[in-house]
Symmetry: C2
Subunit: 261 residues, 2 copies
Amino acid sequence: MTMRPADLDRVRALPLFERAAPEVFRDVTGGAFLQRFPAGTTLLMEGDRVDFLYVLLDGAVELQGSWKEKETTLALLRPVSTFILAAVVLDADALMSARTLERSEILMLSGEALRRTMRQDADFSFAVAQELSGCYRGLVRAVKNQKLRGGVERLANYLITQRVRQGMCDPIVLPHEKRVLASLLGMSPENLSRAFASLSSYGVSVQGAEVGIGRPEALERLARPHPLIDNHMPPPTENIGKAERERWSSQTGRTCGSVLG
Amino acid sequence: MTMRPADLDRVRALPLFERAAPEVFRDVTGGAFLQRFPAGTTLLMEGDRVDFLYVLLDGAVELQGSWKEKETTLALLRPVSTFILAAVVLDADALMSARTLERSEILMLSGEALRRTMRQDADFSFAVAQELSGCYRGLVRAVKNQKLRGGVERLANYLITQRVRQGMCDPIVLPHEKRVLASLLGMSPENLSRAFASLSSYGVSVQGAEVGIGRPEALERLARPHPLIDNHMPPPTENIGKAERERWSSQTGRTCGSVLG
DNA sequence: TTCCTTGCTTGATATTGGTCAAGCCATCCA
DNA sequence: TGGATGGCTTGACCAATATCAAGCAAGGAA
């Protein structure tokens, strides 16, 4: 309900709204409300009807899918990110659950209003389509990553991506618990430990959440990162690139884009 | 260049154009041209700039991704399907290669014209956004399928999905070579053979491309199909459902929807 | 402090999936 | 008809990954 003007500005800066006319932005954010959730809150269960577009303003959110008491992480979000846009556009139920990993601040926009505005404004509709395209391509990358690479290779590429995102610093700091990271990378926590261990011969050293990349060249020779799989988005110098850039990466710790549902 | 009126009607019936105004349809299909390709033709390589939206009118197309001399199949398409919509919307390069599996007839629509029309017509833009949403959700299903299930389970669910698509008949007929199916399911051809063999204890019998589902209940008990993973779209009685329905499934043999890029 | 709890690691073992090599069986072609 | 070819299958083996169990270390609460 109460919303700081600064928050509204951050939403305004999202690629989705960047070029929207003032009245369009007003229409979509009109009935919005801001909510605070403690860590571990389930915002949305798989199969639930989706009535809102969510915008993560502070904290961290995990999107996960499940089958037969097994769960897997599909994406990890950091501010500022929108999520479950696809479900909202189709007015369908969610294919993934969403839960907070930390205490989080989340803005909820009316899905109904969003769809209504899309039908009225071609530019806004186009922006949504571009957003969806970027998210789709993020998932294509995720599938390729999962099907073409082994566990150690996925971890190595994750570390390289993080290094780029964190401004080529060394050591990098893992933005999430290792068990969550393991689920994102599609392996058991035990196996993630072993994968880290096997990377020590390539210069990687682990100290809690801090990971030293001793010899980047050696790690890259193993990882073989590829622009058509790994989205090595430049670090957040300014805010976010242009709309024509894909704004999403499946395994990011500083997503500046969004994820649909 | 030469295009039968019947072909144009089939394109018109796609969810993307179903509700478009006549002049919108004319604008988008204006500079289009129809081309015929032999089997095994590469239409598009990963990394190529995408200038056209493709519409498969006849034949079969495989979308694949590659890394380090390894390849994997991301989708198998049958008429009538559009593909690489996402790349067209973003005017970006392709994340997957596209090649014909059989002699195929393909309509190519100008990407430039499509984007121009989107900016002019909110309804068309909205239709594109809905299409993209459906495709995104198809990929979410694919990731869940890949990360949560083992090889035998993926095959079992594939068979059940095919049975639904083919009108609950028995035996079903595999719409593609087994080696291609193996790649789609994320396993080696050898392992697909063994997976089929291990399903024999659940009533499944294989005779070339014909697969008998002896005991559907037994197979389902193993497969545990789930509406949030497997898109059990009703068989193509009429043409295609409404636009609000997801129109894409990652592992279909009779896709009535589309795939982006 | 001491005792939990929690997240992580490590080792032993089982399961799954990949690779290599051989063989089978259709089809196609000379 | 013979012989190649290509797709599929099978077996033997190996690599990758999951599972189970135990232990460790840091942090929080009594």
